[in-house]
């Protein structure tokens, strides 16, 4: 004869209420482990922040240097470079490119 499943559910849950998993050994020195993890995460975040800050400041310095170089250099430098490479004036190249030739 099978028991009523609803009654079994009720009895299993009732038995489960008092059947707790002992946690004493896991709780032992828990604070020490937790605080070590918090400190390590905190120092990791600080190191990451420092790296990001260094990267951002390097990029900013590079942008400033390039900007200063651009302002100080002659206006047609790029055109001159293209002409030197192609062997003809760069505006001809651009015109041919835009005409699809």
């Amino acid at each position: 004869m099978k028991s009523d499943p609803d009654i079994l559910v009720e009895r299993l849950l009732r038995a489960g209420r008092s059947a707790r998993t002992p946690t004493d050994t896991t709780e032992f020195a828990f604070e020490t482990r937790l605080m070590a993890r918090i400190r390590s995460e905190r120092s990791g975040e600080a190191a990451q922040g420092l790296l990001i800050w260094r990267f951002v400041s390097s990029c900013a310095a590079l942008v400033l240097i390039l900007g200063a170089w651009h302002v100080a250099s002659p206006v047609d430098e790029w055109g001159g470079m293209v002409s030197a490479i192609a062997g003809e004036p760069h505006h001809t190249l651009v015109a041919e490119y835009s005409m699809g030739d």
Binding site: K2, D6, L12, A15, T21, E31, L34, I38
Partner: protein, 187 residues
């Protein structure tokens, strides 16, 4: 030496923790870890996972400490964080429910059917295996309502669900658990 010592209250410890006093936070952890372990151990039995889960809960507490408004007692606030972390643990746990020998399941179910006292360790294993086959929401609601013996309104507060939702999910969870037990009984 008969000096009386007053333990600082939670509010004082929270303020000290926010000011960067790690020892104050460790005292808070020490004071509330029993409650947190009690909740978490209902959802996770492996010692290593349980330790990780409880650490995750207290790290969330540490990070959110500044948002604690003292409108409810600190332990309620911690319990809420614990329940939500347990729910996340259940959702992301990619493990199969624990496999237990069918003789053990049969022995426990026979004891329960005959109203005999079943061995606690075996009850835990059978219950864990059966609950492991439910969805995260169902497992959460039935654990809080039936195993932790909390009221519907408490569960609603802890989970952030409406009371109607809690009742509906509890109904579905019981039905699912009954189906699992029926299946066990047929094997």
């Amino acid at each position: 030496m008969n000096e009386s010592r007053h333990d600082p209250d939670d509010k004082t410890l929270i303020q000290a923790s926010l000011a960067g006093d790690d020892a104050a936070f460790a005292t808070l952890v020490s004071r509330h870890k029993g409650r947190v372990f009690g909740i978490a151990s209902r959802f996770c039995r492996e010692r290593h996972d349980l330790d990780d889960l409880c650490q995750e809960i207290f790290i969330r507490v540490y990070r959110k400490l500044g948002s604690f408004r003292a409108e409810a007692p600190f332990e309620h606030w911690v319990s809420r964080i614990a329940v939500r972390a347990c729910y996340d643990f259940l959702r992301h746990a990619k493990r199969q429910p624990p496999q237990i020998p069918m003789e053990e399941v049969s022995a426990v179910l026979a004891d329960l059917a005959a109203e005999r006292n079943a061995e606690q360790q075996q009850v835990r294993e059978v219950l864990d295996s059966a609950l492991g086959r439910l969805g995260a929401k169902e497992r959460l609601v039935i654990t809080l309502l039936e195993l932790e013996d909390r009221s519907v309104s408490e569960v609603a507060e802890l989970t952030g669900w409406s009371e109607v939702n809690v009742k509906v999910r509890a109904f579905r969870a019981r039905r699912a658990l009954r189906e699992v037990l029926e299946e066990y009984h047929e094997i």
